[in-house]
């Protein structure tokens, strides 16, 4: 069965028997944006199990294990994005009635509602796993139907364009004649696709300053307790539409006026702060590795997830299988396995926060004599492993073997997180003229290199980890093994700061000099 057919089946199961019960608008109270209005047709989509499942997926994966209040979900983020997308479209409609109209507002709100439906358990944690599944990977690679796109957004698009969703939406349109748009109008926006003369619509959903980013910065910051100042209201006031010719086509783009520079700057620093202190916190990364360990164990043993009286179980070989998983399903899986089994133990270790522990931290600050070209070269070659999860995993297993772990690899993980790129923000088009009627467009990066500054700042925070089990003796063995392997394979020598604090006293200065 193809990926598209499997997704169609998934959508069908999650839209079966939906009742169109409401003729009234609904109001949702949101901690970030206040009162949010939902139109009846949007309520039908939002109330379907297809969207309700997002209540069971944490917005920021395991961030809540370290920042306890970050327990918000994809569901509230989705509503927030829909609200902001509509707000941006309304602003543009007011300023450019020939470009944006009521249809624009409906389109972007529906695209926003569906933009995260492709998420699976723990959001981006599982995305790192399912993006390499062959059926999806073939679509993302060069020459594929969705080359260069993100795994999650492709799944969301395939959900929105599935036969089952089209059928459902036809019924919605029949029930609510005020709905002016169809699936083909809003689904492409999820992928950032739009005709050149309607490019601004895609910019609202998937652009340098899109509704998604404008919602998740303040939401994730507030939920994790990290103070971030982003003047979004000001930014909204600085948005307009302008023309730019490229490759013989006339693009109508969403642009930011000079008054919005400060807000963009705040946005970029907010993002850098969130990555450095929240998303890439070592405990959060340890949790991610534990989830990967669980999926790896399932795949090695040929076991099926969610095998119960309703479902036949999923072997997770297809990216579509992951759509049947939410955080709740993942945790519930523990009870399908005997107490004391590895699966039960791994899942419960996550539930009760008995996490993998750091063995080594590898960064430019923990490489001995980083100014030496040989060391830099070795570090770079090691860092390059992040492009290939299989090679990274193979190195972790090699380290475990040398530490005499007897083939028990489950708790030995190497983690080289991908850094965020700020390029997209640098690509924002800004209007250097004080008038919207006669704009002078430039790329933000050519006016002020904010994105480059933040990029450079961010690079100081990049670090990789070797995680291991709780036992000090086992982690000491892993540390010594890793130090030897990194030196042998990459010529990389680490300093004592690389070693986890609780292990340092057990590793002599003969092995790693002070």
């Amino acid at each position: 069965m193809s990926l598209k057919s499997k997704i169609d089946k998934f959508v069908g199961l999650h839209l079966d028997g939906i009742q169109f019960y409401t003729e009234k608008r609904k109001y949702v109270h949101d901690p970030i944006w206040g009162t949010i209005e939902l139109y009846p047709h949007e309520c039908c989509v939002l109330d379907s199990p297809l969207l309700q499942r997002l209540r069971q997926i944490h917005q920021t994966g395991f961030v809540y294990a370290t920042f306890p209040s970050a327990s918000h979900t994809r569901f509230e983020h989705t509503i927030g994005v829909m609200h902001l997308a509509g707000k941006i479209a309304s602003t543009l409609k007011e300023r450019h009635p020939k470009d944006a109209n009521e249809k624009t507002i409906q389109k972007v709100r529906l695209a926003a509602l569906l933009h995260d439906t492709g998420h699976s358990a723990f959001s981006h944690t599982s995305e790192e796993i399912f993006e390499s599944r062959k059926d999806l990977h073939d679509l993302l690679k060069t020459g594929g139907e969705f080359q260069g796109k993100g795994a999650g957004e492709v799944l969301s698009y395939l959900i929105a364009t599935s036969q089952a969703f089209r059928k459902f939406f036809r019924k919605v349109r029949k029930q609510y004649p005020k709905v002016l748009v169809d699936v083909n109008d809003f689904a492409p926006l999820i992928l950032g696709r739009a005709d050149p003369e309607k490019r601004f619509e895609a910019d609202i959903i998937s652009g340098p300053v899109d509704a998604d980013k404008l919602d998740y910065f303040p939401r994730d910051g507030r939920a994790s307790g990290v103070e971030l100042a982003v003047d979004i209201e000001r930014l909204l006031h600085c948005l307009s539409i302008a023309s730019e010719r490229r490759a013989g086509k006339n693009y109508r783009l969403m642009v930011v006026s000079r008054g919005g520079f400060n807000a963009i700057q705040q946005l970029l620093f907010a993002r850098a702060t969130l990555f450095a202190s929240v998303y890439h916190h070592h405990k959060v990364r340890a949790c991610d590795c534990m989830v990967k360990a669980c999926f790896e164990h399932f795949s090695e043993k040929g076991m099926k997830f969610k095998k119960n009286s309703v479902y036949p179980g999923f072997n997770l070989k297809s990216a579509a299988d992951f759509l049947f998983l939410t955080d709740t399903d993942f945790f519930g899986e523990a009870y399908n396995h005997k107490c004391g089994s590895l699966t039960h133990q791994l899942i419960h270790d996550l539930v009760y926060r008995r996490l993998f522990k750091r063995v080594l931290t590898i960064s430019r600050n923990t490489v001995r004599d980083f100014d030496n070209s040989q060391q830099k070269a070795g570090y770079s070659q090691f860092f390059n492993l992040r492009a290939c999860p299989e090679a990274m995993r193979a190195l972790a297993k090699k380290i475990a073997d040398k530490a005499k772990f007897g083939g028990k690899y489950t708790k030995v993980w190497l983690d080289i997180p991908r850094e965020p790129s700020f390029r997209k923000a640098g690509d924002s088009m800004v209007n250097m003229s004080s008038r919207t009627s006669n704009p002078r467009l430039m790329k933000l990066e050519s006016v002020i290199p904010i994105a480059q500054w933040v990029d450079t700042y961010q690079q100081y925070y990049a670090q990789s980890f070797l995680f291991g089990p709780e036992s000090v003796a086992e982690r000491r063995a892993l540390a010594i093994s890793a130090l030897k392997i990194l030196e042998f394979e990459y010529g990389l020598k680490l300093n004592r700061d690389a070693i986890a604090e609780d292990l340092r006293e057990f590793i002599s200065e003969k092995i790693v000099p002070a």
């Binding site: 060069t142 260069g148 070209s373 830099k376 770079s380 640098g426 290199p449 990049a462």
Partner: protein
């Protein structure tokens, strides 16, 4: 298995920078300009065997490649290429990149050396080369530490 299956994105980019006409070359670019250059060149039939490294998203106002962006970031992160203040648009290929290329990447290229060299020549033509006093002594083809590696 395809021809580039074991060559990662940042290794290919390193190989290209290492094959520029002179070591420690300085060039002025932005990530979007560099993406545009690669998009144009990798679309040519002769460079197609290398195109798999960087899938391009062509739906936007200009092409993007997350893989190329990651590779470019990765080289900056590990100081293989440095950026100069205050504009951060002038990059310099480091001595360490030459070391990395010779020690780790060149042996992986095998039969692809010629095509990589051709791509490097083309990329260089499209970049805005910054002329400055040589950071390598005139007449000395490669930095000292690279020569040491070759001697070994």
């Amino acid at each position: 298995m395809n021809a580039t299956s074991n060559l990662y994105g940042d290794e290919l980019l390193s190989a290209i920078f290492a094959n520029f006409s002179s070591p420690r070359l300085k060039f002025k670019t932005t990530e979007s300009k560099l993406t545009g250059v690669f998009f144009k060149l990798l679309g040519q039939p002769k460079f197609r065997p290398l195109a798999k490294q960087y899938p391009f998203d062509v739906d936007g106002y200009e092409p993007r490649s997350k893989a190329l962006s990651d590779a470019f970031q990765s080289l900056q992160q590990s100081r293989m290429i440095g950026r100069m203040n205050p504009d951060l648009v002038v990059y310099e290929v480091s001595e360490a990149l030459e070391v990395r290329y010779q020690k780790f990447i060149e042996p992986k290229l095998k039969g692809r050396k010629t095509i990589v060299k051709q791509l490097a020549e083309e990329v260089e033509k499209h970049l805005d080369i910054v002329k400055s006093r040589a950071t390598v002594a005139p007449g000395l083809g490669i930095p000292k530490n690279v020569a040491k590696i070759q001697d070994r």
